[in-house]
């Protein structure tokens, strides 16, 4: 019962800390854009926190540069358990277009374990939200079902899921 409650709270309140490891800003502004009225991450209970101490999810963007990787690693260590890492953008997944440059180590996963990869250059804010959902789907079977459906149908119109957010399935015109 208590486990269930804790699990529920973790699903409902994933606070994120945004970490730029040397990207081109494209993904960064899309992460910030996903906070703004059009996408509004707060409806999932997500808040962006400036300090890794308060965060549950590290959202890392950009290829890992040689100058910053020690600090990135320290930030990862400072985040309290349970923690997750979301690699947003192709650079964060693998180094992307900068792979092979002398000052780039590669993707985020060269320095810290990554839970979910969100490819795209940059991914749409929707895709970032989907990445977060994908991450949460490992905690909550209800979201897992939704994610599966989204993946299967791809871009479709008739997906109906209730109870994901407490706004119900209110449809807009």
């Amino acid at each position: 019962m208590l486990d269930k409650l804790i699990n529920w709270s973790r699903v409902k309140s994933p606070w994120i800390c945004h970490l730029n490891t040397g990207g081109c800003n494209g993904c960064d502004i899309e992460v910030v854009a996903s906070l703004t009225p059009r996408f509004d991450l707060e409806r999932f209970g997500i808040l962006i926190k400036g300090t890794p101490r308060h965060a549950d999810v590290l959202v890392a963007t950009g290829a890992m540069t040689r100058q910053i990787w020690t600090r990135a690693r320290r930030i990862y260590d400072q985040t309290p358990e349970p923690k997750f890492v979301l690699a947003v953008g192709s650079c964060a997944c693998s180094g992307g277009v900068f792979r092979g440059c002398y000052n780039v180590l590669g993707g985020i996963d060269t320095v810290m374990p990554v839970n979910v990869y969100v490819p795209g250059c940059p991914p749409r804010p929707d895709a970032i939200i989907f990445g977060v959902l994908k991450l949460l789907s490992s905690l909550d079977p209800k979201i897992a079902k939704l994610v599966e459906e989204l993946e299967r149908k791809g871009y479709g119109k008739d997906i109906e899921v209730k109870g994901l957010t407490d706004h119900g399935s209110r449809k807009r015109d």
Partner: protein, 325 residues
């Protein structure tokens, strides 16, 4: 029997459980309003609750250099202070359980404790950000505390009593004091905003300047306690202002002949409506302004708020001296 009732008062209503639930609800209302002002959807209703549970279940970290005992004790201290303060504020009928002559001063005193606790917390977590935040918090404390105290003195002078319940009773038999001292009400709301460290006075934890400010190093359940303490402080502040200026549980209806249950219902409903109204005002202020710099904040408080509250006080004493009340 009376001991049982007392325990019930303390733990369930209006004490511990109700207060926590209501504080979390108020936080939800505040965040939702803020989001709607910004044309967003905002968080779901159980969001604050989920945040707290999650924080309670997080791993516990204390920075190496920090003083472990202090770091653990301070949030509890702040939490206890605000919960105690609430017990003196009447919320549904004309006697608060712990009311006594002079409880207004006790409440004001207890309401200052969270800020001091925040200062100590920032200071003892040995992070430079939080130390800068602590400095700013303590500087700010002196700025808003003066007008806040001065302006809350007014109702006490009018009603000739240091007891909140007397002031409320005075209002229900005469009129709401906001009619007599609108200036005081405005100053009180602004000063409360400063007390709660929200925009435009969120200088101690200015997120874009010093990251999380005071609470940078706070993790898990200590952070949860602090968040809760600040939420409860908001409830207590709103309830205090509504009791002193908006007539507390008074709802224009004569409750003399009604059954105790109906009396309770009406009074409680009035309490809810009034506190929510004040939260609405607070949320509007938060959405309307940019953050001030610390020196601008201090100047603002001493140049505008303090003189205004003194003018209000002089007016009140004049009225009192003339013997109109």
């Amino acid at each position: 029997m009376s001991i049982l009732l007392e325990v019930l008062y303390l733990l369930v209503f209006p004490g511990f459980l109700f207060l926590i639930a209501y504080a979390l609800f108020i936080e939800y209302v505040d965040r939702k309003l803020y989001a709607r002002f910004q044309h967003r959807v905002g968080p779901p209703i159980l969001q604050p609750f989920a945040d707290i549970i999650k924080l309670l279940s997080k791993e516990d970290l204390v920075p190496k250099k920090a003083d472990r005992k202090m770091v653990s004790a301070i949030p509890l201290f702040a939490f206890a202070a605000v919960i105690t303060a609430f017990l003196y504020i009447p919320i549904w009928f004309n006697q608060s359980f712990f009311s006594f002559q002079g409880d207004l001063i006790v409440v004001l005193y207890l309401l200052s404790i969270p800020t001091l606790a925040l200062f100590l917390a920032g200071w003892h977590s040995s992070n430079p950000f939080s130390q800068v935040g602590a400095m700013r918090a303590i500087t700010q404390l002196f700025a808003y505390e003066v007008p806040f105290f001065l302006v809350l003195l007014g109702p006490a002078i009018i009603a000739d009593s240091w007891s909140i319940i007397d002031i409320v009773n005075f209002q229900s038999s005469n009129f709401w004091l906001i009619l007599m001292m609108p200036l005081g009400f405005i100053v009180a709301v602004i000063a409360l905003q400063g007390k709660l460290e929200r925009i435009p006075f969120d200088i101690p934890d200015a997120e874009t300047e010093i990251v999380g400010g005071l609470l940078v190093e706070y993790v898990g359940r200590r952070l949860a306690l602090f968040r809760m303490a600040i939420d409860i402080e908001m409830v207590v502040g709103a309830a205090l202002i509504s009791a002193l200026f908006l007539g507390g549980f008074d709802a224009f209806i004569s409750v003399a002949g009604l059954s105790p249950l109906a009396q309770f219902g009406i009074g409680f409903a009035a309490f809810l409506v009034k506190t929510l109204f004040i939260v609405f005002l607070l949320a509007s202020i938060r959405a309307l302004f940019a953050r001030l710099r610390i020196d601008q904040m201090v100047t603002f408080c001493f140049k505008w708020l303090a003189p205004l509250s003194i003018i209000q006080l002089l007016l009140i004493t004049g009225v009192k001296y003339m013997g109109w009340f």
